[in-house]
Symmetry: C2
């Protein structure tokens, strides 16, 4: 079983508008809502893949997420505005409610119980206000299974000190971590743990003690980027759980990520695109 | 007592972001929510002015609006994204839930009771899905007091046939009503009822059987335009209720509207701006 953790769960709201013009009023054509957050998206993708998965985290009661530790404050919303005209996505992420020390303590106890049955644990997304910056580092140290960490800023910096099995930064997160434009692959290799870095149109780079690989999709798809990174993470969680070789995991992650861009909401992928891309991804030693 | 009617009430959400860039992700700095909708805003402004006012309409239970007739579906949200960088406001308006025939019948009965004590009735905003396009015309015909109608499109066209005491279109709403660029003041005068048309930076135009006036603020303020039109309407409601001469109402409405632009949320105005502008508005016969 793969365990995903979402400490900053959200109600994901998707608005479709004709075109987004700053400073004007938009009539929203349709409204779609789902419980979200990066770890929830990873779990949804794994479910679609047929993998046994368990999603946990912290969430307000309105999200109706079973096995999440309840918090008092209302959960945050993330709103994605999709423009029909140019297929662009514009996101607005609320900060979220402040987590109390008691809620965090309750979560750690719950985590210890669930983690016992996990083959791989995925820690995804930002930390809500109130949690210490080393919250992920703490969970990584308690975890009895390999941990994939997908976060940003100080939580990523602290998390690296606890040596997760893999980190999954995108190029902007890498630049923020380093404080400069990354020098690839050297900067990833220097992090001391396996790194799967997503590079946008340039594909993805994987550095490990066993080798370094780069992969690229045959073409870049436009659509909803939310959740593409989470599909990428889902592929790594499955690959690590099943003992798949690194370059094969990387190819699978790029295909699944491209197939997720092709769907209107996060936490899902387009099966036809996934099948098509699975045979077309080029992965080479870098 | 002034009665305001909001058939398409909403939870008004205001997000503050650094700058709005389409196609990117925004961290929302702060989130402000209030029960809103145009008639609620008009009532809030009248309350701040110290005028006796009663707000009614149709609303979901989560809006906590007493004296509104409850509906089953969750109320819609309107989200205003304020950019700190350029003071611009970008709005996203959800369509809202479908109103049942029973809910509409319950509202009309409730309206008949409340309208008995009203000196002026204000009907504001769009009609929610499920209501007939002549819903406002129906209310105007039942109303025992003068009615101000502030709406758009078909509800405005139907409403005019019931001869309200005043309509308050903006220039875009006038253009949609006519199907072409308005010829002012002739097109307003031809509507057959008093018309207070807001013209953005060009101030406002009032056509009545007693005369035609144009007014202009001494300077145009930037800020949150949501609710500026509702403050304008509030001034007309008070002016008609108190029997104030038309040109004095117009001057007051322009001052109050400018003072509302100067506040971060709808339904409020800046007292200092209102005092300053009250003596500076130029109203001339047109």
């Amino acid at each position: 079983m793969i365990l995903t953790v979402t400490l900053n769960a959200a109600l994901d709201v998707t608005y479709r508008v004709e075109a987004l013009n700053a400073g004007t009023t938009h009539r929203v054509r349709d409204v779609h809502t789902r419980p979200g957050g990066k770890g929830v998206n990873v779990a949804d993708v794994l479910t679609q893949l047929g993998e046994p998965v368990h999603a946990t985290g912290l969430a307000g009661p309105e999200l109706n997420l079973p096995d999440f530790v309840p918090i008092a404050g209302p959960s945050r919303r993330t709103t994605t505005v999709l423009s029909t005209q140019d297929d662009s996505a514009t996101l607005f992420n609320e900060p979220g409610p402040v987590i109390s020390a008691g809620e965090w303590a309750a979560f750690r106890t719950h985590f210890d119980t669930l983690a016992r049955d996990a083959q791989v644990i995925v820690l995804s997304g930002s930390l809500p206000p109130g949690l210490p910056a080393d919250a992920y580092a703490d969970l990584i140290r308690r975890a009895p299974a390999p941990v994939i960490l997908d976060t940003d800023g100080e939580p990523l910096r602290h998390g690296l000190t606890a040596r997760p099995a893999l980190v999954k930064p995108n190029i902007d997160e890498l630049a923020r971590l380093l404080g400069r434009i990354p020098d690839l692959p050297a900067d990833c290799a220097a992090l001391g743990v396996p790194v799967a870095a997503t590079l946008g149109a340039d594909g993805a780079l994987l550095t490990t003690p066993d080798g370094t690989w780069h992969g690229q999709p045959p073409r870049v798809l436009s659509g909803n980027p939310t959740g593409a990174g989470d599909a990428f993470t889902a592929a790594f969680a499955r690959g690590i759980a099943t003992g798949t070789p690194w370059p094969a995991i990387l190819a699978d992650a790029i295909a699944l990520s491209a197939a997720a861009v092709n769907t209107p909401t996060a936490g899902a992928y387009d099966e036809a695109t996934y099948r098509e891309f699975t045979d077309l991804i080029q992965v080479k030693e870098a």
